[in-house]
């Protein structure tokens, strides 16, 4: 998937992946896509909740090799 910005949240624990993602999204423009990689298993549900509450669309959420990958489109 194409993206405009990347956030490496590997090794970070709650709530840092969400806080860093929010910061990154703030610096982007509407319609741009943020690619996030994290290792926090809690981040799967957290990013779904974050997206639902903030209206930034979660385009995809996937796991491979104990890493979690998210694509979020800026509102």
């Amino acid at each position: 998937m194409n993206f405009d910005k990347e956030l490496d949240a590997r090794g970070l624990n709650c709530p840092l992946p969400i806080l860093r993602a929010k910061k990154a999204l703030n610096e982007m423009t509407s319609g741009q896509v943020l690619h996030i990689v994290s290792t926090d298993p809690g981040s799967v549900k957290d990013f779904a909740a974050f997206s639902k509450q903030t209206g930034n669309e979660l385009l995809s959420s996937a796991e491979n090799n104990k890493e979690f990958e998210f694509y979020i489109k800026r509102k």
Binding site: G11, L12, N13, C14, P15, L16, I18, L19, A21, K22, D40, F50, Q53, T54
Partner: protein
Amino acid sequence: MTTPAEIDELVNKRLDELLPQKLEALLQARAEAKTPSMAIIATKGTLDWAYPPFILASTAAALGWDVTIFYTFYGLNLVKKDVSDLKVSPLGNPGMPMKMPFGPDWFKSINWNIPNIVQAGIPGFETLATSLMQQTIKNNGVATIAELRELAQEAGVKFVVCQMTVELFGFSHDDFIDGMDYVGAASFLPVAQQADVTLFI
């Protein structure tokens, strides 16, 4: 000819059908338009209890909520300029695991059940426990308190401080970070009244 009583009955029947739908739509529109808000009272001044208010406040701000933290009593320690001296004590706290943040896995998995009387008798035990917890925090990729506090402030979380306890404990405003309001209970309560979420930590 329709009688007034019949008209009333028809009107009432129609209203009963329409009102619940209208009301629901209005309430939903109102809920969607409202920015959620949270008011936290932070009363603890130890390294472990410094986490909940800052984690919840910074996350709520990231979700777009309006957040206020009211610092009172030992919570004042959380807004001092330097928070690197916050300590944690396992003494009299049976819920706190005492595990070593270094060494091989079998060693790290041991929970050291040190009797209270021993903990109390060893000079510097609290300092030792604090540095072990700081190492554990680092090993787990958990943010420091200073970092979370900065993120919360950056995200627009409002900090308000209980002026009465500032005086009670002999602090001055110079001891604390900038950008805070010094208020009393009467200023905080109306904020809490309007908040969707109110937490006492």
